[in-house]
Symmetry: C2
Subunit: 153 residues, 2 copies
């Protein structure tokens, strides 16, 4: 019993240390990558909502808000901005006139992919200092992390 207790305490300790490292690394990583979002004149919240539409398909405003963990009034303004820039199109749901169908336009998809490619190439270029093994481990770890995020409580 004492053994089990000690083991799980150690595991928790390592979880805490790892969580701390991940937290710090994620903050600093995104801060670096943010510098690549040049003069797109589209803010980060708009880009992030657009990415949901591009990668997960059309959504209602409420679905977008919950995907982005934001309240509806906030998403309402984000959608208004994207619409003004013609990066999305909005129509009424035929079944329920309260709902909106929001979809990315071709222009929106192009803009997103371009910015995303810029960020990712910038990061990939900086991963070049790693060995092949380290890179492979990083890929495995990223997959673990994605699983953790999918199963989040």
């Amino acid at each position: 019993m004492a053994k089990v207790k000690q083991d799980s305490a150690q595991l928790w300790g390592q979880s805490l240390r790892t969580a701390d490292q991940l937290h710090s690394a994620a903050i600093h990583l995104l801060r670096r990558l943010r510098t690549q979002d040049l003069r797109s004149s589209v803010g980060p919240a708009q880009l992030s909502a657009l990415s949901v539409l591009v990668f997960a398909g059309p959504r209602t405003l409420g679905e977008l808000a919950s995907a982005e963990q934001v309240k509806p009034p906030t998403m309402s303004r984000i959608v208004a901005g994207l619409k003004r820039s013609r990066l999305i199109e909005v129509s009424r749901d035929t079944e329920d006139a309260r709902r909106m169908q929001i979809r990315a336009t071709a222009k929106g998809a192009r803009l997103l992919q371009k910015g995303r490619r810029r960020r990712i190439e910038y990061l990939a270029a900086n991963l070049a200092s790693l060995t092949g093994d380290e890179l492979a481990q990083l890929a495995i770890a990223a997959a673990s992390l994605e699983r953790v995020l999918r199963n989040w409580t």
Copy 2:
């Protein structure tokens, strides 16, 4: 030559895929963790600047701005907010009266550590779904990533 070329092309391909995963994971991770900051009544930019002061020691406004990759007017307002909440103290540099010496107060350090612990414990709790091996790999990967960030170009 052809062999080398092909190898480095494959390496670049894996770097791109890994970069993409990391990018996505970092975004979603921080979005989750952000939900733990709600009650602190101190915004994310203020918390982040405060963390620099707590972990790296006193700084001038310009140093803080560049550490946070933000322009001086923005940091000026962030500092004003922290000062209003008495989380930092500001004094003039005795050598150069243009400069400010900004340091965290005990209250600031306490608030930061508390919020940080909340975030990290939340993340650590969700890492519990990983096996010990996966957790260990994640820790190694986080260290690699931190090295990449330190050597960033």
